[in-house]
Symmetry: C2
Subunit: 106 residues, 2 copies
DNA sequence: AGTATATGCAACCAATTGGTTTCTCAAATA
DNA sequence: TATTTGAGAAACCAATTGGTTGCATATACT
């Protein structure tokens, strides 16, 4: 099962979980209280997040605290870099249109 | 079918397509040449990208040029902002650990 | 010791996904 | 006009997904 960060953040519930534990580690039960799904469903989400290392477990007695590995989020940021260059350099729609029509007629 | 940008970029082929047409609009056939999948499969990816407005069509005779709407990528960037604050303010792992353990004992 | 609680895991299920093949249609070309 | 070419749509398929219920296990509490 090839888990990557992009697949992990595709699910809205998973994104919500990420936002929830970004600043403070939480247990599966506590997280589940925020959603309309079972604790087991949350557990499955956490497993996926763990597999792609977006989240880290920390056992505390019988409780397991999950916390976001915020560094891993940089992977997404890094992928965005190539496009950030485009939108920051003000390559707007008109520029694109011109360059493509120029390339049509070859 | 609720299409959002995050679901769109979850698929690696779709991310590759996005990278491919970022700087220059391309036709489905031209795009398909870069992958080991059929033109129709590419077409389906393009439909998904179009549905969430990551991509724009531009008819040119019987050809349809697809081009990235790079502005839409900012949606992802915006979502990342909340986490960027965390990692830029050097809330590193140790900080997290301390804050959570502090909250355990209540 | 006995019970309650926190969690993970497995089996199952319906819906979705990413791909295929086949078909149709419109535009370009001979 | 007839044929080739570029593209979308539909039907189909196997694999994956996101959820469920039920079970097993370890820790905490009485």
């Amino acid at each position: 099962m090839r888990r990557d960060v992009f697949q992990a953040i595709a699910d809205p519930t998973r994104r919500a979980i990420i936002g929830l534990i970004a600043l403070q580690a939480m247990t599966p039960n506590a997280i589940a209280e925020h959603f309309d799904i079972t604790r087991q469903a949350v557990s499955k989400h956490l497993r996926i997040l763990t597999e792609c290392e977006l989240v880290k477990q920390e056992q505390q007695g019988r409780e397991i605290y999950y916390q976001l590995q915020v560094n891993k989020m940089k992977a997404i940021d890094k992928w965005l870099d190539q496009f950030r260059k485009i939108w920051e350099n003000r390559f707007d729609q008109l520029d694109h249109l011109l360059s493509t029509t120029k390339n049509h007629k070859k």
